[in-house]
Symmetry: C2
Subunit: 389 residues, 2 copies
């Protein structure tokens, strides 16, 4: 069974709504002419399991749906649990409980990405090409050279950067692939570049294959803008044998309201964990985006439970590393945009500052600007400060 | 240029947020190392046009974005105008203004669907197979026979009905196609059956072609559950030479909040009008779904302006026909689910009641149960009443 929690404000009769959902989102309506189909109709019906009241006085109704109603994918699931009902007024989906094997598992996930990189015992460090728009393919390679030789694990395109004439996706890949090869040859290290794959669904799927044929070793995908069915196709394609990093662009449109939509932990946690994504970005609560630490913790745990790599993003800079290690442990990818690119002495220093932070803390030392040597970490901490809870 | 209106509650500094959007959703950040690229960066920057305060005290900021930043499609547009920013707190997109030729035009649209049906001078009448789940392919054909011979223009699958073992999509089509052929042979009339096309993006696109090859003369598609990029691929595929009816499932998750997400008229109006959809369903404000008549009117006008057929749905029964004609005019498809299937004497009578209503009003007569002959319309009005504003 698939179980879904719907949360209603006190003004709404939750029991009544739950019954409307259980019937309206499954069989839809009854008709005596089909009484000979009674058992078939019954087998598709949803069922109200219970309604409880939370501490804020909101009612949470738990409704069970037969798996037989859906196609083991996310779009048919979304249509069933919230398709028409999403337009019915106040009510938010705050929990979705799927069978472990529902949907798709990641091809790589946490273990696979660690294997590719040969890094097992620390958070991975990821950067973002900036500025987002306006750079040429050669500019991308210049930036990559700085950060990759400085020790970076992963870099990604900005999610806004599509396949634009100034820096076509294949040109960016070609320019950057050369740098990745140089790093491999000179240091033995693999660095992943998650290339943003965009376009009309049919062209996007073809482009993903073409990118991999041309040496892409990771993809970035805006699953909510393009659609879960496209992510599922990418994940199922054996020719796309590289990790897929999913960006949360547009998630706020679905999740930011307290009384409608779906919660962040459902969309960026549960749905993504069953989508075939290998790694999923989401806002860290330290940053500029107003994010609830409880929702963030749920996302992290749900993703990990399906071997999907959590990628806390936004507000990540060297000064948050001590708190991040305490809160997250090692099994995360720390994704820093400006936290690397805007280091006072440049992106190379930005990467070094992160690794100095990890090393300093691994040695059991505390963060104290006074005690640090004159290094990139100190410069970073003087700029961004040390994050305090 | 692409112009977007963001609405903020009084608690938010709209001018500041508009500037954050204009830079943060385009170039992202500046860096002196790329000063040689200044003109390139400038050409991608967004621009705050103005901020006005509406009657409710909300501020509406209008931001212009260069078309050069996007790929003439909806996913890259959504990522740019609301991708990361959707997670930034309160703020709702209430208007999107695209160049007329942005995205895709419908292959059929209003004029094309009317041509297929040979009906020019009245609203079209559409029904929905019910119950949504649990019927066999043969049951579908049985229902279709009743309603199609009664004069129905279009029927569609329920949006929840996927490609399930009890009634596989191709089997439903095969059973119903036979009925459509009988109707054509005996009456000369074309009836459209919008078959719900579902699945993983690659399989869905292949299935759409297969359905058309097997005689499907229309498709139903849950664009918001599956993704706009898939709709764009369907619309661009010359082998999919049948009208695409788009269902609004999940729209409430994006649109129902007053202070976050996007307004219904943006998602079901503007975006759909540039998606390649031929006809778009949305809630009529007469019905059970709480829908704002102003938003509904905007959707209708925006769709019509791009030759996309508006399909008001939910709450449509014979008793609303006089009001509907006043409010909508002829250029709509009236989509009735229970309003046809739950007629006291059956679906055939449900269809007849609609056509009797249209004929009665065409003759300039008023709706009055006392004056009607003993017909299906009268039975319907006794059940559902005559809608009063």
């Amino acid at each position: 069974m698939i179980e879904v929690e719907y949360r209603f404000p006190p003004s709404v009769n939750a029991e009544k709504q739950a019954k409307i959902i259980a019937i309206g989102q499954t069989a839809g309506s009854w008709d005596e002419r089909f009484s000979h189909r009674e058992s078939q109709l019954q087998s598709h019906l949803g069922q109200v399991l219970n309604v409880i009241t939370d501490e804020q006085g909101y009612d949470i109704a738990r409704v069970a749906f037969p798996e037989a109603n859906v196609e083991n994918d996310l779009p048919s699931l979304l249509t069933m649990i919230f398709g028409k009902y999403s337009m019915a007024g106040l009510g938010k989906i705050v929990g979705v409980h799927l069978p472990k094997n529902y949907g798709q598992r990641p091809k790589f996930g946490i273990s696979g990405i660690r294997n590719l990189l040969g890094v097992g015992d620390r958070p991975l460090v990821m950067a973002i090409f900036k500025p987002a728009l306006g750079l040429s393919a050669a500019d991308h390679a210049t930036i990559l050279k700085e950060v990759a030789f400085a020790g970076l694990d992963i870099i990604k395109d900005d999610e806004i950067l599509g396949d634009l004439p100034l820096a076509p996706t294949l040109d960016r890949l070609a320019a950057c692939r050369q740098v990745l090869d140089e790093v491999k040859a000179q240091t033995g290290r693999t660095v992943l570049y998650a290339v943003n794959v965009t376009g009309r669904a049919d062209q996007l799927l073809a482009k993903a294959r073409l990118l991999v044929e041309n040496g892409a070793n990771a993809l970035l995908f805006n699953a909510l803008s393009y659609g879960f069915s496209v992510l599922e196709a990418l994940a199922a394609d054996s020719a796309v044998n590289v990790p897929i990093f999913v960006h949360p662009a547009l998630a706020g449109a679905l999740c930011a309201s307290a009384e409608t939509g779906l919660s962040y932990s459902v969309v960026l946690g549960t749905l993504m964990a069953h989508s075939g994504a290998d790694a999923v970005l989401y806002p860290a609560h330290y940053g500029s985006l107003p994010f609830d630490p409880t929702e963030e913790a749920k996302i992290r745990e749900i993703l990990r439970s399906q071997n999907v790599f959590p990628v806390p993003s936004a507000g990540i800079h060297p000064g948050v590393v001590p708190t991040v290690l305490e809160d997250y442990g090692n099994e995360v990818i720390l994704n820093a945009g400006t936290g690397i690119m805007d280091h006072p002495t440049g992106p190379e220093a930005g990467v070094k500052a992160f690794f100095q932070a990890l090393e300093w803390l691994r040695e059991g030392k505390v963060f104290d600007v006074e005690k640090l040597p004159e290094n990139e970490l100190k410069t970073a901490l003087l700029k961004w400060g040390i994050y305090e809870r």
